[in-house]
């Protein structure tokens, strides 16, 4: 009796929930379709399994515990679903299938136990609420099907437990199926599986999969009626999809320097607020850490309410939240679902700057200076080369029309601290007999900070001006000491027709050392640590060249705990020093504490912004030195580089 009745009922139950799930899925897709059109990468859908198993797991596996747990749970779940659908919906039976269901649900059960264990004392970065319910739902789902299948495999007599067990199983399966099927498309924690899978396939940056990299910001059409993102439906549809993929694991929160410094930004909450903006509801349901200093739910419900599409900034999200970001990409790097937080933040900043004219702090002043003087601090454009008055540099258009290397100076030209780095670089290039020239006063700011402050118009003007200038001359490579300019020139000028072979000076010098054009003395003993600049490391994947150079000088790098992909930002990126959102502590101070804990006496850096931020930390602290400066100190004496650099003069 029970044995017949139960499978039928379960079939109906699963059929109903599958139908409901499909209805939910259609509704969810409709929500995403509120967004703006964007290229649909259909081919990506085929790549979902591979992307899940390779790219996603590559990120997840940095935490072995959760990666194994997820493999067991998700793998078990997928197999269970397939078996259940085959058995109960299509009516296919067979002992192999029953055994498959039995093992898969058992596998899922084991995974769910580990999920539960992790959730006993969850760290602060994990969300509670429905997410705390999930392990129980997983256990119930898997155990129900396990028990249900036992009789079919003959391990238990068919009528074991009688009605009592049957009802319990029914309730369990109803709960489990509800959570797993309906929750997937109606907004439960399992939403991540449905949206996440689609997101992996239809990701806005397809280049990121299969070991590629795509970090340049997307350019904005300035002719549009609305510039940037005001409301959730101003995002591209695939961005809205990506927000739904969030699993609230809080890895971004752990990595975010602004969050750690007590600035009102939590990338995880930001993404969830975007979901609220898209799907309605209230941020009061958010069960994770709030924006530091901004309490969840203390805002009147009328302002912090989703429902219909409402403006995001100052209604759903405080303006200072999006201005706290240093665009260091630590959150993007850490995100297992490959969500692009920085893109979303810059999109919202674009609306604030281009439409509302509300760039906070000194932002307005910096942007005005960039408009009128092409440098952020408003110095006279013709004083750009003043630092090199004694350097006899060859200038494109004045002395030469072509050279092997275009040395991109950047705004370090106006800063007395970073002029030291520039001088060191010039000496090194001369020691290696490199044929190089500079653009001189014709060079403009790369537009990095303007773009990240949301002023796409100024960025595009600067980019086009620089590209037009560079078109007039012949050179093979661009070398720069500024990773921000490096990133812009390499990745972001392409949209405007600027394709260059760009080197960061560490990469270029590493090649010179390898080919023995520069010989470094490796006798000095230095107690030194290296700080990875975000725009060199995470943005462009260059972790080895600076380390190679330091090791070539005979230095044993005392690595900080957060280094390479996990390196903490210095706080200088994305215009954060300009917008100056207060927190409970300063990001460079935290980074300096990281450095101090290695007991190194020197921090080597490869970025003018990093050296400014880190030198801004109150002494006593380790010395901050650019790698170029360290290299100049270690330049092998046989080459007598100083003589060369003094004697050699350009035409």
């Amino acid at each position: 009796m029970v044995a017949d009745f139960l499978p039928n009922l379960i079939s109906i139950l699963i059929l109903v929930s599958v139908v409901l799930a499909i209805v939910g899925a259609v509704r969810r897709v409709k929500l995403w379709r509120q967004g703006q059109p964007s290229t649909i990468h259909w081919a990506g859908l085929l790549a979902i399994p591979r992307r899940y198993l390779v790219d996603l797991h590559h990120v997840v596996s940095s935490d072995k515990y959760i990666s194994n747990t997820h493999v067991a749970t998700a793998g078990g779940f997928v197999l269970t679903i397939i078996s259940v659908v085959l058995i109960y919906l299509l009516g296919i039976s067979g002992s192999i299938l029953n055994y498959a269901l039995l093992t898969s649900s058992a596998l899922m059960f084991v995974g769910a136990v580990f999920v539960l264990l992790r959730r006993r004392n969850p760290p602060a970065n994990l969300s509670r609420g429905p997410w705390s319910r999930l392990p129980f739902s997983l256990l119930i789902f898997s155990s129900s099907f396990f028990v249900l299948t036992l009789p079919a495999t003959g391990k238990l007599p068919a009528d074991t437990g009688g009605w009592m067990l049957a009802i319990m199983l029914l309730v369990g399966i109803a709960w489990g199926v509800g959570e797993m099927f309906l929750g997937m498309t109606w907004g439960g924690p399992m939403k991540h599986a449905f949206a996440g899978a689609l997101h992996l396939g239809l990701h806005r940056r397809q280049e990121r999969f299969g070991g590629g990299r795509s970090t340049g910001l997307k350019s904005l059409n300035l002719q549009k009626d609305k510039l940037g993102v005001e409301k959730a439906d101003d995002f591209k549809w695939n961005q809205l999809l990506s927000f739904d993929a969030c699993v609230e694991c809080g890895r971004c929160e752990k990595a975010c320097p602004a969050f750690a410094a007590g600035q009102p930004l939590n990338p995880k909450k930001l993404i969830q607020d975007m979901v609220v903006g898209m799907a309605g509801g209230s941020d009061a349901n958010f069960a994770g850490s709030p924006y530091p200093g901004v309490d969840v739910g203390t805002q009147p419900a009328s302002t912090y309410k989703g429902g219909e599409i409402i403006p995001i900034i100052d209604v759903l999200v405080p303006a200072k939240t999006v201005w706290s970001c240093t665009t260091c990409r630590a959150c993007v790097q850490e995100c297992p679902m490959m969500i692009e937080h920085v893109d979303a933040i810059v999109d919202m900043r674009r609306f604030e700057t281009l439409e509302k004219g509300q760039t906070p702090g000194k932002g307005a002043e910096v942007l005005e200076n960039l408009k009128t003087t092409d440098n952020p601090n408003g110095y006279a454009p013709e004083s750009r080369m003043n630092w090199a008055a004694d350097q006899n540099l060859a200038v494109f258009g004045e002395h030469v029309q072509q050279a092997d290397v275009l040395l991109w100076i950047g705004d370090a030209a106006f800063d007395m601290r970073n002029q030291r780095t520039l001088r060191a670089m010039v000496s090194l290039l001369r020691a290696a007999n490199i044929d190089f020239a500079v653009l001189g006063d014709k060079e403009c700011d790369s537009g990095d900070s303007a773009r990240r402050l949301g002023d796409e118009a100024t960025f595009q003007r600067l980019a086009k001006t620089n590209i037009t200038t560079m078109q007039q001359y012949q050179f093979k490579h661009i070398v720069t000491a500024d990773p921000h300019a490096f990133h812009c020139l390499k990745n972001e000028y392409q949209d405007f027709g600027g394709h260059y072979d760009v080197y960061h000076h560490t990469g270029f010098f590493a090649d010179l050392v390898k080919t023995e054009k520069i010989k470094l003395d490796n006798k000095k003993e230095l107690s030194l640590t290296y700080h990875d600049p975000c725009y060199l490391g995470r943005y462009n994947g260059e972790y080895d060249a600076p380390r190679y150079l330091l090791e070539a000088m005979g230095i044993q790098i005392k690595e900080m705990e957060r280094s390479k992909t996990k390196a903490r930002c210095c706080g200088g990126g994305g215009g954060a020093p300009v917008t100056d959102i207060p927190g409970t502590q300063r990001i460079p101070d935290m980074r300096m504490d990281d450095a101090k804990s290695t007991s190194a006496e020197i921090i080597a850096v490869g970025c003018p912004q990093c050296s400014l931020m880190l030198e801004g930390v109150v002494e006593p602290r380790p010395d901050v030195k650019d790698i170029a400066e360290l290299m100049l100190d270690a330049l092998s004496v046989q080459d007598s580089p100083l003589e060369i650099s003094l004697v050699e003069t350009h035409p």
């Binding site: 702090g361 007395m416 801004g616 109150v618």
Partner: protein, 413 residues
């Protein structure tokens, strides 16, 4: 004592002549050495000159200074009196005379007027117009031949319309060849332009040089020089000419019956007392700036209040939350132009030093005498900042009587 010495050639001669019986060497240049030989110490001869090079003065003046010269009683040098009895033309100068004193800008304007009056064969007279009281002590060296003084009660306040009407009537009566005003924020710029509009003449503004029949004035908000013919009404910049210094002038009071009536549309409601901390840092004249070395912030605020200084801060002090961001001084904060800048506990990061580049006097209060701020400072106090501020506060309290006396001097910026 006077700094003018009367020469005594005889004493000088004796000082020069070592063989003179009355010669007394001021210090034993020649000594008998241990071997019994006479030795002359060449290091003792001469003195170190201003650029660090040793100079030997063989004129005897240096010796004579100490020996033979007798200080003469100071005699006020009587400058020649410049008299214009029957002027061929007049030049009218309306001075700012804030608080009744001539500013250096006023004196430069009068100097230019004097030059213009004595340029050709004809001799002109400089007529200065004063509004409000005159408290200036050195009036006769300013170059004023005649003086017109409006000292009704109404002129004590800001009444540019009345002043303009008066000047306009003076112009019709006196028919001056030129009218000069200082192009200054203290009133001259406003008054001059009012007058120009009323008289319907085109003024030359921001004039900084007059050569012959041409003048050069700044245009384009200071970016260009415009060379143009000399005009009737000139609004002149500071240092447009040397002030008068070689002659005394008569300051003859000129009574002109001026009875200008005009509709007064502006009424002065008086100056507003401005809290020094409300003043924009870039404008502030006196800044007390605090940095990382400050341990006692309430005392710092008290000191700023007592001294009446505008508060500034270094970047670190702002970052640490002791001061608001708009108080940050430096290249990354506000570029300041204060007359006096006191840096308390600021070691002087390069960006900070850039920001205070235009300050006139810098005082450093710091515990480290090797820091960059001390190197830049005109005066450095080394020690614990709160103790030094304490001493300063004590002095201020004991000094109130004295400082009030000092305050009667009217300051002009």
């Amino acid at each position: 004592m006077s700094d003018i010495f009367r020469r005594d050639p005889r004493a000088e001669w004796i000082a020069r002549n070592r063989l003179h019986p009355q010669h007394v060497p001021q210090e034993p240049l020649v000594l008998r050495g241990p071997t019994g030989l006479l030795r002359k110490n060449p290091h003792k001869i001469g003195f170190i000159g201003p650029n660090g090079i040793k100079r030997i003065d063989r004129s005897g003046a240096s010796n004579a200074n100490q020996l033979g010269r007798k200080a003469a009683k100071q005699v006020e040098v009587e400058l020649p009196l410049h008299q214009v009895d029957s002027p061929d033309f007049n030049i009218l100068v309306a001075v700012d005379a804030v608080g009744g004193r001539l500013s250096s800008h006023d004196r430069d304007t009068l100097g230019l007027a004097h030059t213009l009056a004595n340029k050709g064969d004809e001799k002109g007279a400089v007529i200065a117009v004063f509004f409000d009281d005159i408290t200036e002590e050195n009036l006769e060296t300013a170059g004023i031949d005649s003086l017109i003084h409006f000292d009704d009660k109404g002129y004590k306040s800001y009444n540019p319309e009345q002043r303009c009407a008066d000047l306009c009537e003076l112009v019709t009566t006196l028919r001056p060849k030129h009218i000069l005003l200082p192009d200054s924020i203290n009133g001259g710029a406003d008054l001059g332009r009012r007058l120009a509009a009323k008289m319907n003449v085109r003024p030359a503004c921001n004039v900084w040089k007059v050569t012959g029949d041409q003048l050069i004035c700044r245009g384009g908000a200071g970016k260009t020089d415009i060379t143009r013919p000399l005009s009737k009404l000139l609004l002149v910049m500071e240092e447009c000419s040397e002030p008068v210094s070689d002659t005394r002038h008569q300051n003859m009071p000129l009574s002109v019956d001026v009875n200008a009536q005009c509709q007064l549309k502006i009424q002065d409601l008086g100056n507003i007392s401005v809290d020094p901390n409300e003043i924009n840092l870039a404008e502030a004249g006196f800044i007390l700036s605090g940095g990382n070395g400050i341990t006692d912030w309430p005392k710092f605020h008290l000191a700023a209040k007592t001294l009446g200084a505008t508060e500034g801060a270094s970047r670190v002090a702002v970052d640490d939350g002791f001061m608001p961001r708009e108080r940050q001084v430096g290249a990354t904060g506000t570029w300041v132009t204060a007359k006096v800048y006191i840096a308390v506990g600021i070691s002087g990061a390069i960006q900070h030093m850039q920001g205070i580049g235009q300050c006139h006097k810098v005082v450093a209060i710091n515990s480290d005498d090797s820091c960059d701020m001390v190197k830049r400072a005109d005066l450095s106090a080394i020690g614990d900042s709160s103790e030094i501020l304490d001493e300063l506060l004590n002095l201020m309290q004991g000094d109130t009587g004295l400082s009030e006396q000092g305050n009667t001097e009217v300051k002009y910026a």
